[in-house]
């Protein structure tokens, strides 16, 4: 900056002596412009006329003839003074603000001329017309300008026309920089047009002296919404000064800054200032903004919009106050410029945010809302942050006091407090406050884990400052969460007085449990069943329903899968503790304590690790307890061998022992008989070597029966499970086991009766073979019988080998791995049982037809039983007939016999009906078998389709079905029997 004045000086200085006139051009200029100071005319001026400055002489006023010495001296002094002043200006020039190149200068001039159109015309018309210039339009002037400019550029005399143009432009009345120096225009009556005609009101007009130039620039940019500012400045007068002068001309003083600052500091604390105050409180109903804000305030995404609303409102209020002051105290208080108002507005936003935050804190402390530890820690954090804020305010205040301690005189640049600085220094705090108020807004709506996850969302904010701040908030806010988490995953205790954790006690459970406990106690009788069922219900709910997983409360930094893990960990521990009564609990806890360090938000990786550890330890422990202490596997095996009739010897013995009793009507059954039979079956079979723990759970039971049912229909074998075990072997599973047992038991019973029947038929074949005309019937019986045996054998083999054992193997494979938690184990067992049930009961996927195949099999079994009865009858008849024939033979031989009472015709009738029954049964059975094969062959389960192939491996049934229509089978068999 300094180089240029020097160069211009050096260029300027040597010249004056070289001019032809003895008077320096500056002096001439002085005389020309201030004619009253011109010296009395001298002859020298005539020379000037000839050297191209002729007009100087002519324009000079006539000097007085008689010169007063005193006045002459005065004049000379004055001129000298003026010359010095002018030279000083020339030398100590202000920084040049005209970096314009020569090329843009004419454009600028043209633009100015174009813009001059409206505003100059009116007021300077008189002046123009006196000079013979019509007040033509701006465009016309611009055109004329370009013509003259072209001519000048072509002329070779001037070294360069641009400095001249620059000079002229600087003096031009059209130049907007020059206007404010003149008295205010009067042409614009409306406020809008006058404000347009006015210069851009630059902000620093109020405090120009201590504003750094850069900030002044920035403010001018933000503050002016006016004409496009020209790039060059008028030398010697900054915009600020110009505006100041204008203000002065309107006799408006800038508002004292220290008062504003003080008020601002109040505003920052959310307190109304003396001159500026918040406009939120007083007019609750009248203010249209308020109601609008109230509505908008409930929305989530408009905190900024809300701020804006408040600010607007505040601006209005502020404006009101200023206006009043101007009326009352105009000379004293002065004018607050619009940009300053803007700054005040921006600063006061902080006060509003502060109010929000403090309101929240006080409302929480007053005990409103749900409370909760998360809120408490949030409040603690906010307190901490606000005390930081207070500290900052205190510093600012002391700064302000320092600044304005002496005479309200603003100190030199770079020191002291200004509104701009206030804005700058509180910028960071403002962001923090904004973030805090955001969090506070959220805290009003949510609580606990949901709040934590809401806050966590802000951690992905783009601004590192906010990110860091949010991390700090989270660190504090998540403390109670981690406290609860620690308790939960390390000791299985749910310490959550305000329901903030994502694991919560199930409200239904307590009532359910109470119910389960009370009702069996009330009506427990000799029937143990109800009791055991009641207990099953209870234990099942402890695991499944004691705690619930609340998805919405899982904090954002914990994934849901991870949350499930946490949930399971605590649940396992809780279960170990309360339901299993584990004596090794302390050991587990010690292990867990090693695994767990202090959990913090900042150490998420460590958190995951320790939770993983805790999870695996707890799950392992729980599985161990189940497998080792509660010998779960033994129980499952027992269920398989006793309820699914896997233990053949036991089943056989039981069947033998029970058969005579069960054939009687159900009403004659007594439980103690059944239990004693069961006992003897156990004693007699390999079951006696089984764990007594298991054997004592086996029990025989009579189901509810209706009139006419036999023992077979209502007998069932029961396996009792209790407390921890029934988590896995729950009620539903036991029902499934029951179903399986019933079906298999029936199958077994049919099989054994058929076997006995076969034995009888086969062993006494010698007897009836002698009987005439029956061999064909017997042959037919044997064929059908073997068909039945084939069917039963295959069905049983399928059940035992393909269904039960295969599923069992899968279950064993799973348990050997010992992975996952109790839930996984439950699921594995459930899967195993489902598979077995589905295949044993031959359930199909089709709706309403699930049991169609099962029904067919049951029907077939019934037919087998009927057939057996019929065959027994036939056997009895044959025996009787044989005896009769023997007797006849004896009497022929002359031996004495007991005379027969039955007539042969009657017995022949009997024979006929027996034959009929046999035929019917065998036909029905075969029909059923065909349909079974057909149904099983088209079953969607592949294993069951294989069963169909097994049953009819040589295509016998399908052949028979396709070759013979339904009705013909009976004829065929009868024909066969007739043939024999």
């Amino acid at each position: 900056m300094s180089s240029r004045p020097v160069s211009s000086q050096s260029a300027h200085r040597p010249r004056p002596p070289s001019t032809s006139s003895s008077r320096s051009p500056l002096e001439q200029l002085v005389y020309s412009l201030v004619p009253s100071l011109a010296p009395p005319r001298s002859h020298r001026t005539s020379l000037d006329v000839r050297s191209g400055r002729s007009s100087v002489a002519s324009s000079r006023p006539d000097s007085r003839a008689e010169v007063d010495d005193v006045t002459e001296r005065e004049r000379k002094e004055r001129v000298k003074e003026l010359m010095e002043w002018c030279e000083e200006i020339m030398e100590s020039r202000l920084p040049s603000s005209t970096p314009l190149s020569a090329s843009t200068l004419p454009d600028t001039a043209k633009r100015i001329l174009l813009q001059s159109n409206s505003r100059i015309d009116g007021r300077s018309a008189s002046r123009q017309s006196s000079r013979g210039e019509s007040s033509s339009s701006g465009s016309e002037r611009a055109m004329r300008f370009s013509g003259v400019w072209n001519k000048l550029e072509k002329g070779r005399l001037l070294s360069s026309p641009s400095p001249h143009l620059q000079f002229l432009l600087s003096l031009s009345e059209f130049n907007p920089h020059n206007v404010p120096a003149k008295p205010l225009s009067t042409n614009g009556s409306s406020a809008a047009s006058s404000s347009r005609a006015m210069p851009p009101p630059p902000v620093p007009a109020t405090f120009p002296s201590n504003q750094p130039s850069s900030s002044r620039q920035a403010l001018a940019d933000t503050g002016s919404t006016n004409l496009p500012t020209l790039d060059f400045d008028v030398k010697g007068k900054s915009k600020a000064e110009v505006l100041k002068a204008w203000r002065k001309s309107k006799s408006q003083k800038p508002f004292p800054q220290h008062l504003l600052l003080r008020d601002t500091l109040y505003l920052l604390q959310g307190i109304d200032g003396r001159y500026v105050r918040f406009a939120i409180r007083p007019p609750k109903e009248q203010n249209p903004y308020l109601t609008e804000k109230g509505r908008a305030g409930e929305g989530v995404g408009f905190p900024l919009g809300k701020d804006g609303a408040i600010n607007q409102e505040e601006e209005g209020e502020e404006g009101d106050i200023v206006g009043i002051e101007i009326v009352a105290d105009q000379p004293k208080d002065g004018y607050i410029s619009k940009p300053t108002q803007t700054i005040l507005m921006q600063l006061s936003e902080m006060g509003m945010l502060y109010r929000q935050v403090t309101d929240f804190i006080s409302s929480k402390q007053a005990g409103e809302g749900k409370g909760g530890m998360t809120e408490q820690s949030l409040c603690h954090f906010l307190h901490h942050e606000l005390s930081e804020y207070h500290r900052l305010l205190a510093v600012l205040e002391s700064q302000m006091n320092q600044t304005f301690s002496d005479d309200n005189e603003p100190p030199a640049d770079g020191a002291g407090l200004t509104l701009m600085r206030l804005g700058l220094w509180t910028e960071e705090m403002k962001l923090k406050l904004k973030q805090m108020s955001l969090v506070v807004e959220e805290a009003k709506k949510t609580h606990g884990g949901a709040l934590v996850s809401k806050i966590h969302k802000h951690t992905s904010h783009g601004d590192p400052l906010i990110r860091r701040f949010t991390d700090q908030i989270l660190e504090e806010v998540s403390k109670p969460f981690f406290g609860t988490l620690q308790k939960w995953i390390f000791s299985g205790d749910l310490h959550d007085p305000f329901n903030e954790f994502f694991v919560q006690l199930n409200p239904e459970t307590t009532s359910l449990r109470d119910h389960g406990r009370i009702s069996p106690a009330g009506d427990v009788g000799f029937e143990m069943g109800i009791d055991s069922l009641g207990r099953t219900d209870e234990a099942q709910t402890i695991w499944e329903k004691k705690y619930v997983f609340v998805k919405g409360m899982v904090p954002g930094f914990v994934s849901e899968e991870f949350g499930k893990k946490i949930f399971s960990t605590g649940r396992s521990l809780n279960f170990i503790r309360y339901s299993c009564g584990d004596s090794d609990w302390i050991e587990t806890q010690a292990k867990l304590a090693n695994a767990g360090r202090a959990l913090k938000y900042s150490d998420l990786a460590g958190l995951e690790r320790s939770i993983d550890d805790a999870y695996s330890i707890a799950s392992q422990r729980l599985l161990e307890i189940f497998f080792d202490k509660f010998i779960l596997l033994e129980h499952l095996r027992a269920l398989k061998s006793y309820l699914m009739l896997g233990a053949g010897d036991f089943t056989e013995l039981l069947m033998e022992a029970l058969a005579p009793r069960l054939s009687k009507p159900a009403i004659s059954l007594y439980r103690h008989h059944l239990t004693s039979d069961l006992e003897s079956a156990i004693r007699g079979s390999n079951a006696q070597f089984d764990n007594p723990e298991i054997l004592k759970r086996l029990d025989a039971r009579i189901l509810e029966y209706s009139h006419g049912e036999t023992g077979w229909d209502c007998f069932t074998l029961e396996y009792k499970v209790e407390q921890p075990l029934n988590t896995i072997l729950n009620q539903k599973s036991m029902l499934d086991y029951d179903k399986l047992f019933n079906h298999l038991w029936k199958l077994k019973r049919v099989e054994s009766s058929l076997t006995q029947n076969w034995i009888r038929v086969t062993s006494s074949s010698k007897v009836y073979e002698k009987l005439p005309g029956l061999s064909n019937d017997w042959h037919h019986c044997r064929i059908v019988q073997s068909e039945m045996v084939h069917f039963l054998r295959n069905l049983q083999a399928f059940y035992q080998l393909e269904v039960i054992e295969c599923s069992w193997k899968d279950l064993i494979d799973f348990t050997e791995k010992r992975q996952g938690d109790l839930d996984a184990l439950i699921n594995a067992h459930r899967e195993y049982l489902d598979r077995v049930v589905k295949k044993v009961l031959l359930l199909s996927n089709k709706r309403d037809k699930e049991e169609i195949l099962l029904d067919a099999v049951r029907d077939a079994l019934d037919y087998i039983l009927q057939f057996r009865d019929a065959t027994d009858d036939l056997y009895g008849w044959s025996l009787a007939e044989a005896t009769r024939l023997d007797r006849e033979r004896d009497s022929e031989r002359g031996l004495y016999t007991i005379p027969t009472t039955d007539s042969p015709t009657l017995s022949l009738n009997q024979l006929h009906s027996i034959k009929q029954r046999i035929k019917q049964c065998s036909n029905s059975f075969q029909d059923k078998l065909i349909s079974i094969c057909h149904l099983a062959g088209s079953h969607n389960d592949l294993d069951i389709r294989f069963l169909a192939i097994r049953l009819a491996w040589n295509g016998h049934y399908s052949l028979r079905k396709s070759s013979k229509p339904h009705g013909l089978i009976g004829e065929r068999s009868s024909a066969r029997s007739n043939r024999g």
Partner: protein, 75 residues
């Protein structure tokens, strides 16, 4: 002779230039008369800074106003 002719041509040229500058000055409504303008043009030609010169003009005008005011006061 030739030199005088040259001089004359130059003078003519200068007059034309001043005239056109005066035109410009009137276009831009600077309020300068021809005499003052020619002084200023010569000063700028000699290397004076146009901006500062403009400032000086403004100062002098103000001074003139002040003096006028004084005179009127005296009277």
């Amino acid at each position: 002779m030739s030199s005088s002719k040259d001089d004359e041509a130059r003078l003519q040229n200068a007059r034309e230039t001043i005239d056109s500058l005066h035109d410009l000055s009137q276009l831009l409504q600077t309020g300068l008369d021809k005499n003052t303008l020619s002084i200023c043009v010569s000063m700028i030609e000699q290397g004076a800074n146009p901006d500062t010169l403009a400032a000086v003009i403004k100062e002098l005008r103000r001074e003139n106003e002040v003096l006028k005011a004084q005179k009127s006061d005296n009277m």
